[in-house]
Symmetry: C2
Subunit: 132 residues, 2 copies
DNA sequence: CTTGACCTTCGAGCGACTGGAGGGTTTATC
DNA sequence: GATAAACCCTCCAGTCGCTCGAAGGTCAAG
């Protein structure tokens, strides 16, 4: 099948598949006489695998390595598990950061609302100025 | 003062200040005879204001508008309040997304650990394959 | 006179795509 | 057999917010 159908089946954009190929994540497929990429079901399975890892927000560098192992017949389970662990920590960190940020935004909103009557005259955003 | 001292006082990198200028966020300052940028305390205050808004992860597009108002003497409070509200919603959304992602990563970790004894033989990452 | 710290501009690189220009190919329809 | 729509190709630019490096100019201290 050609890239469009592969994209539909793998639930990726054709442009994303080409990008993954250029990034060395997906192997370069065969080409037909017109130069079109030709994929089979195994290729589509691999694309789905990559999509699922990306949905877990694993970086392409990790996925490239995992795909390399999988294509070469090795079991990529340990690297996948390691990548997932790294990502879980990164996600925990991002959530903690964002939670702090949200608290600060909420607090700012409240403080701005409390001084809304002073705005028209001489607001230079003291509230923001008081932030670190 | 020159850009290095302004950067230190505003707690920004000199390269960031130049970038903000090129991005139209900060106004172009005067230059001395050697072509060096010259800043005063008011400029540094504005840099700090921008840094604080960036720390709240407001996009530069919003900050540019807010700075424009502030420099022109208008009170930027309402736009700041609006931008903060938008950002608060975006942060809520990001937290929700990441929380779902974290749950999925945790679940995957557990399921992989539960089948760890099967890995050496024929792991093709069924666990990942079962993900949507 | 030289060293070193500072400054300048310009351009590339990050991550992971996305979209467009400017072409060629295939397929369905008339 | 012509034509139009849908598909494919490559290459390049843009996204966001910086950050770094190259290649050079300026200036004060020793």
């Amino acid at each position: 099948m050609r890239i469009g159908q592969a994209a539909t089946r793998a639930r990726l954009e054709a442009s994303t598949i080409r990008f993954y190929e250029s990034a060395g994540v997906l192997p370069a497929p065969a080409r037909n006489s017109a130069g079109y990429r030709e994929y089979d079901d195994v290729d589509v399975e691999l694309m789905r695998f990559v999509r699922r890892l990306r949905a877990l927000q694993l970086p392409l560098d990790d996925i490239r390595e995992v795909v390399r192992l999988r294509v070469s017949g090795d079991a990529p389970c340990q690297p996948v598990r390691d990548a997932i662990t790294r990502e879980a920590h990164a996600v925990d960190q991002r959530i903690a950061d964002l939670t702090r940020l949200r608290a600060e935004l909420r607090s700012l909103q409240e403080r701005m609302d409390a001084t809304v009557d002073e705005w028209p005259t001489s607001c230079v955003c003291h509230v923001i100025d008081q932030t670190t």
